[in-house]
Subunit: 399 residues, 2 copies
Amino acid sequence: MSIVVQKYGGSSVGTIEKIKKVAESVISKKKQGHDVVVVVSAMGDTTDNLICLAKEVTCNPDKRELDALISTGEMMSSSLLAMTIKSLGFESISYTAYQVGVKANGMHGKSFIDDIDDSKIKESLKMGRIVVIAGFQGINQEGNITTLGRGGSDTSAVAIAAKLKGSCEIYTDVDGIYSIDPRVYKDAKKLDYIEYEEMLELSSLGAQVMHSRAVELGQKYDIPIYVGLSNGNERGTIIKGMNNMNMEMKAITGLATSDDDVSITIEDVSNNINIISDIFNKVAERHINIDMISQTAPINNTVNLSFTIPKEDVEECMGIIEEYSSRDKIHIDENITKFSVVGIGMKTTSGVTARIFKLFSENHIEVKMITTSEIRITCAIKREDKFNAVNIVAKEFNL
Amino acid sequence: MSIVVQKYGGSSVGTIEKIKKVAESVISKKKQGHDVVVVVSAMGDTTDNLICLAKEVTCNPDKRELDALISTGEMMSSSLLAMTIKSLGFESISYTAYQVGVKANGMHGKSFIDDIDDSKIKESLKMGRIVVIAGFQGINQEGNITTLGRGGSDTSAVAIAAKLKGSCEIYTDVDGIYSIDPRVYKDAKKLDYIEYEEMLELSSLGAQVMHSRAVELGQKYDIPIYVGLSNGNERGTIIKGMNNMNMEMKAITGLATSDDDVSITIEDVSNNINIISDIFNKVAERHINIDMISQTAPINNTVNLSFTIPKEDVEECMGIIEEYSSRDKIHIDENITKFSVVGIGMKTTSGVTARIFKLFSENHIEVKMITTSEIRITCAIKREDKFNAVNIVAKEFNL
């Protein structure tokens, strides 16, 4: 009998009616002969409402106490789900992070799971119970309740699946992972499979479907993660490792765009590594995240330096670089879109960059900056070229 | 430096505004140089709302899961209070029953506190922190969260005070204990002191001010318990032991009435102890609580047997006694009031019963039944005599 860890998000357990539907779905899995462990998020807006309550106290609530407060949301939903399963005639028990020893460390609100004591879970499964565990929470070394950050219940679920050597199913309000955000490209295809690294790249590019740390954990312990709708029979997407992938990989799996950055160009910067690194260090000290960087070849020992930063940080950033350059040498371009393609297939398929550049050139799309990783290509293009670029690349690579 | 354990009820922490007032009151105690431990109930109607949610699942929710659910209310209020105290510049920390090892046993929803591991509390007090503990909850031997019953936070507070050898202050929405319910007798006096036994008798007679088990614990460990308003400087009432009482005790401390019982009389019952005990056993098996019992002297080897039971149990009780007697021999009197006086002074003051009987006879108040304990006299009288009886006894004994 295999162990299945299912996670249901806040919108799936938003009302008692919905909790009853989840209970039925969990029971049907149990009836198929699986040992079932369920991880739940807090009901609907519970977490947000608790945070609002804390903000009524003070705009900067103590982080330990905030974690103690917001972790109650998952305790509520887990006991309600176990209660519902029992009322339908199946054995069930809810556990908090304390009760199953979810050991965590790191900052309050952003903790990491270190280990899980699976003895109680296994014992309950052996007794035929459906085990329901409050997600999002852990206990740190001081015995304090701590939380794992937004979407942390995903991480709880994958960690439990890893510990129990089970499979993991994340049920949520999206029907799977798409090659492109359907709001940007309506013909985007739902993926049957996506590789961990690809998913991580897409998440870092703004795909909010999964908690990144959950994907990292899945990758580390090689746990395939199913993502899909909680109430549908439609097929969702499985996030899994290279070894399990189809040998004939597509060069590109996903495409993402972002309009949240601006590019800053500084003309005639002295081509001195100390000065350039000094600028970047000072920007980093203010926790401003520099993404793409490009530099022209030196002429008369000066270079033009360009980089992108989040829109909201422009003013603060200007304050720093004006120490190094006069205002008229600094150019801000707000009219850019970051255009990225992701695919583990790029590791083995050469010429992807060349194909994209050719497409762009044929369609008069100017590439202002470019950065690449082993499985990602990101270009800064003009905002008005965005939909055209998405269309031609999606068609060329069959996304 | 003395340790003070303060308990604030649900209405005292019903909103963030009220929690801020509680925080100020706690801090002022701390500023007076005390080590302060605070026990809180859930905010306002939180517990009732959580029970409603469970009832939406099923009319008979699993008791373990119900306890897990409703115990979250106190976790929320305790973290919010600690957060508020910290925001006002004082060190504070909230603890759940798990974190301070509140060991409990007994049925879910009605558990008893066995012991408390006070090491974390003491350590935090030593660090100058105001310690806030979630009331109403304990952890049983199986590691499950369990609750102590309605008003259980009172018991949590007294148990913690007993363990820490501190004093205990229960802040609530009443300004103290009255000799008589002011709704029944408007000139009723607020008591400065009341003895544990007296308080227990008054509680069992329907005075809802304090959780009875809290008073029992106070008595067992000789912890004086202050009861008063959370926001006032008015003096409340101290519940304490005989040794601490004024030597010149009043004969009667309190008076209580109840209209919730009916008396049932069975005529011509065979004066056979087996039959009579059989009736009482069968009634007890149905969890019907028989209170006052009286029996006439036997004539022709039959007796008239009278007893009182709660109104709502009449029908069920009739079903039982009709097996022993014909319907026309059974008389139900719904028109009674149970009138009780309580006073530890009765142990040493003789003639209290005689004085009351004399008063009643002078005022034509008929006593239908009477039971007495060492510190209590209860009479069943006609409902219409209630206010008259309260008035003359209150004046005679200066209540």
